[in-house]
């Protein structure tokens, strides 16, 4: 809990940045993609949204798109009812047709289906007439994540988590959006600034080229908001900070290191003509508040400010670095992992249950047609046919000559299908010291053989490893078996055996998969010998008891499980855990991983 008294400078900046970003995006929604708002629903977010709405009131359109918005709602569809009534094609316009350089508000964007996201990003890429504000309410990093397809296109991220409501006030301030929109397009960006931005991006490990473009646009918008008609260093500095902050994947090497390592990199740059290579302005690193006066001074004197690329570069790096908090740095690795993999895991959310356009046919049911359904024409006409005479009489006088069948909305039947959901095989691998000593490599061999099976069945695989005090989701569900194998073979061994924790986490993960409509199969590979309790303390007896308890709880989830005992001889303790789990128990005989695979194969099928 953040206490008001501890309201730090950093929090303050987070909020003021959030307000600034709101302004920037209001000016150029299509060019900057939009905002990724990380926050639970709450007063602070409401405050921000309210402020934003006030800001754009009457100037920019903001349309809310519910998570379950279908294709028809987004891109427009045939209006069946009106069409029937008027006997000619009538289309209802979709949200994307009406948006005209406005903004879409996407609540619970982390739950968005990939189908919807695909429609949005495609429209964004091709027409590019809107920006998006995505509310991400995911609780933890491992929880659902924003679809990377979407995330990549959003220029900014703001995090309103744990900000204090009392300190957050969206300064009421009106800006003439259309005027600024006109102005910012005219602002020139010096080549040196472009170069500096890209070099900075490189040194922060930001691969996507979009980020660089977004910085450039942002800087121009900031300058225009300021009322200037040229860029100042402060503009670029702020822009870089806002755009880069959440994209940084590594910290730049210090200047000296860089020069030592790639001396060649510097040479071509020096050749660049830089005619107005004046000494940098003295206010280089002064806070933005001073910019105003500086701007005025320069306006009297029409000479444009000049930039020295290297200074700029350094300044940009410093500015971006300053916005990083320590825990952000620590999460780089994890973030990388999440971003690159979440698509495959999320691409299927819900679709398997609801993508009911193919599969085994089931009896049709009544309902309103949408893109998710197919109209069962025969059944519909059948339903309508008994009423034809009455309906014709009813319509007499209006359209007595109407040809064909008169169908009303409640005649419509929809086709239904069922589909088998996909399986996710979750390997829960013991990487503890005892396992490492004995059979880790052999267990890995068994897993590889099982992986080959998964390949044949086109399963997804996930990998959880446990050692020391914790279990960790090393690989979220993916179809890429190569990655699973690579991770597995590179997995270090050593440390205690937190079996209880592993069982608990694995069961939780299995539950999550189930809630997404997938069928999890957990394969637990361990030699048992639990020696770390649920609380992370050592103690063989307690650890074993904890494991039993967790196993009992896990059983309640009714997951399909396989316990592969990797110890030298089958252990009775392991059999007990397996039976508590309700898992199939399979000892791994020495050097015969193939036989386990045979057994597992039979179980899986």
């Amino acid at each position: 809990m953040a206490q008001p008294s501890q309201y730090s400078e950093q929090d303050q900046r987070r909020w003021s940045d959030a307000c600034l970003i709101a302004k920037i995006v209001a000016i150029d929604p299509a060019g900057l993609g939009g905002i990724w708002v990380k926050s639970q629903a709450g007063p602070v977010r409401d405050q921000w949204l309210k402020g934003f709405q006030r800001l754009i009131a009457g100037q920019v359109l903001l349309i809310k798109v519910p998570t379950n918005a279908d294709e028809g709602a987004l891109i427009g569809e045939l209006d069946l009812l009106k069409t029937l009534a008027q006997q000619k094609k009538i289309y209802s316009p979709g949200i994307l047709d009406q948006i005209h350089n406005g903004l879409l508000l996407l609540p619970m964007a982390e739950r968005m289906k990939s189908h919807t996201a695909a429609l949005l990003t495609q429209a964004f890429d091709i027409k590019g007439q809107f920006g998006m504000i995505a509310f991400d309410e995911s609780l933890t990093e491992e929880d659902q994540h924003l679809l990377s397809r979407l995330e990549e296109r959003l220029g900014f991220q703001i995090n309103l988590e744990s900000l204090s409501y009392r300190h957050c006030e969206f300064a009421p301030e009106s800006i003439d959006i259309s005027q600024i929109r006109e102005n910012f397009k005219l602002i020139e960006v010096p080549i040196e600034a472009l170069e500096a931005i890209m070099i900075a991006a490189e040194s922060f490990g930001i691969d996507s080229l979009r980020a660089g473009l977004y910085v450039v646009r942002t800087a121009r918008v900031i300058a225009a908001i300021r009322g200037g008609d040229y860029l100042e260093q402060g503009d670029i500095q702020t822009a870089t900070r806002l755009v880069f902050a959440h994209r940084i994947t590594r910290l730049p090497q210090s200047k000296e290191d860089q020069e030592e390592q790639n001396p060649s990199e510097e040479t071509p740059l020096d050749d660049l003509p830089n005619p107005n290579d004046l000494p940098p302005p003295p206010n280089e690193l002064s806070p933005p508040s001073n910019q105003e006066s500086e701007g005025e001074k320069n306006q009297e004197n029409p000479e444009l400010p000049s930039f020295n690329r290297e200074d700029l570069e350094e300044m940009i790096i410093e500015a971006s670095k300053a916005s990083l908090s320590q825990n952000l740095l620590n999460s780089f690795d994890q973030k990388q992992k999440m971003i690159t993999t979440n698509d495959s895991s999320q691409g299927k959310v819900g679709q398997l249950q609801k993508g009911l356009l193919s599969g085994q046919a089931m009896p049709s049911r009544k309902g309103r047609p949408s893109y998710k359904h197919k109209v069962d024409i025969l059944r519909t006409i059948q339903a309508a046919s008994p009423w034809q005479k009455i309906r014709r009489l009813e319509m007499l006088g209006q359209r007595a000559t109407a040809k064909g069948i008169i169908v009303k909305a409640d005649d419509i039947y929809l086709k239904q299908y069922v589909q088998r959901t996909s399986t996710v095989t979750v390997f829960v691998v013991d990487a503890s010291g005892s396992s490492a000593m004995e059979r880790l490599s052999e267990a890995k061999g068994a897993v590889e053989l099982l992986l080959a099976q998964c390949y044949i069945r086109r399963d997804q695989v996930a990998l959880i490893a446990f050692r020391g005090k914790a279990a960790e989701l090393v690989l979220p569900p993916t179809r890429s078996l190569v990655r699973a194998k690579r991770l597995l073979s590179g997995m270090p061994g050593g440390g205690g055996t937190p079996l209880a924790k592993a069982i608990q986490d694995a069961a939780q993960f299995g539950k999550k998969l189930k809630s997404k409509g997938q069928t999890p199969l957990l394969i637990l590979l361990t030699d048992g010998r639990a020696n770390v309790t649920l609380d992370g303390v050592g103690g063989r007896e307690q650890a074993f008891q904890d494991a039993l308890v967790c196993a009992k709880k896990a059983r309640a989830e009714q997951l399909q499980m396989l316990f592969i005992d990797t110890s030298m001889r089958p252990q009775e303790a392991n059999q007990r855990i397996a039976s508590e789990l309700g898992a199939h128990y399979l000892p791994l005989p020495q050097g015969k991983s193939a036989s386990v695979v045979e057994a597992a194969k039979m179980l899986i099928d």
């Binding site: 060019g31 045939l78 069946l80 069409t83 006997q87 094609k89 990939s114 189908h115 919807t116 695909a118 495609q122 890429d125 091709i126 027409k127 397809r149 990549e152 397009k185 960006v189 080549i191 472009l194 170069e195 890209m198 070099i199 490189e202 691969d207 996507s208 080229l209 660089g212 473009l213 450039v216 646009r217 990199e265 071509p268 740059l269 993999t341 698509d343 691409g347 679709q351 993508g355 356009l357 193919s358 893109y371 197919k374 109209v375 024409i377 519909t380 040809k403 064909g404 069948i405 169908v407 590889e448 992986l451 080959a452 390949y455 993916t478 179809r479 890429s480 078996l481 190569v482 194998k485």
Partner: protein, 341 residues
Amino acid sequence: MALNFPFTAIVGQEEMKLAMILSTIDPSIGGVLVFGDRGTGKSTMVRSLAALLPAMSAVEGCSYHCDPLGKILCSNCAALKVSGVKFKSQTIDAPVVDLPLGATEDRIVGSLDIEKALSQGIKSFESGLLAKANRGYLYIDEVNLLEDHLVDLLIDVAASGENVVERDGLSIRHPAKFVLIGSGNPEEGELRPQLLDRFGLSVEVKTPSDVMTRIEIIKRRESYERDPEAFIQQWSEAQNELREKIIASRKRLLKVQVSDEILIQASQLCAHLGADGLRGELTLMRTIRAVCAFENKKVANLDMLKRIAPYGLRHRLRRDPLDDTGSTVRIERALEEIFPK
């Protein structure tokens, strides 16, 4: 028409550019598969293709834009031709159709026109994306995330060049000959071998790591965004030049000689690599021919084969799902083994 970044203004990504150009010179090569990271300009390049493609003539009012001079016609046009009516032709841009990831079967293959069926009681066919893409390009972003039942549809149509609809009481067939372009990130999942096989060429793209290249990209993009029209104007000469070159290459295509020797070498290579089917050899041959035409050479040679082998075979190797040796490396190794210097 929406403005697109000019093809010729794209910096780097030479492999991908070449593959795209070759597929425009000889569409029978059969499409390009692009694998790579996000933000590498995959989509930009595909969309820029539209402006580069030479315009083509089509039967006016035909929803499949049949070629008035072509032999493959849709049923309507064929009936017209038989009855001796002269086609009115119009010049259209070659279609580049986007297939969204979540498209429904109905939208792709076409379906019963519900509106007509319900309001007028007429059974008629509402054509889908495949019809729209006829004689042009069909682009699938994130092709590896495409639903299985859609993949099945594409596999069949891409091979036969004809879309056969037998559903909702409809029985219709229409030409659907298109160049398939797919892109995706291999980390997120693999493609079915059958679909892989339908792509003629494959390229792997990476984000350029060279700072100067990256800067150049941003500079161009920036000036494009500031004033798209002016930027396109600025590059129009280069665009026209390339377009002319493609048209000229198409004409040269049939004059290129590919000797038996080269064909034998191509077969050797395919056999050595264990590439399934004969499509590998066919693609290699067609690609070599297209390269020769593009570079204005009359006779193909071994160097060309070596150069284009990775494009044509990379995705055809039967792979051990657990072996991550890059296919490109395997092809290069095979080339060295068979054709030692």
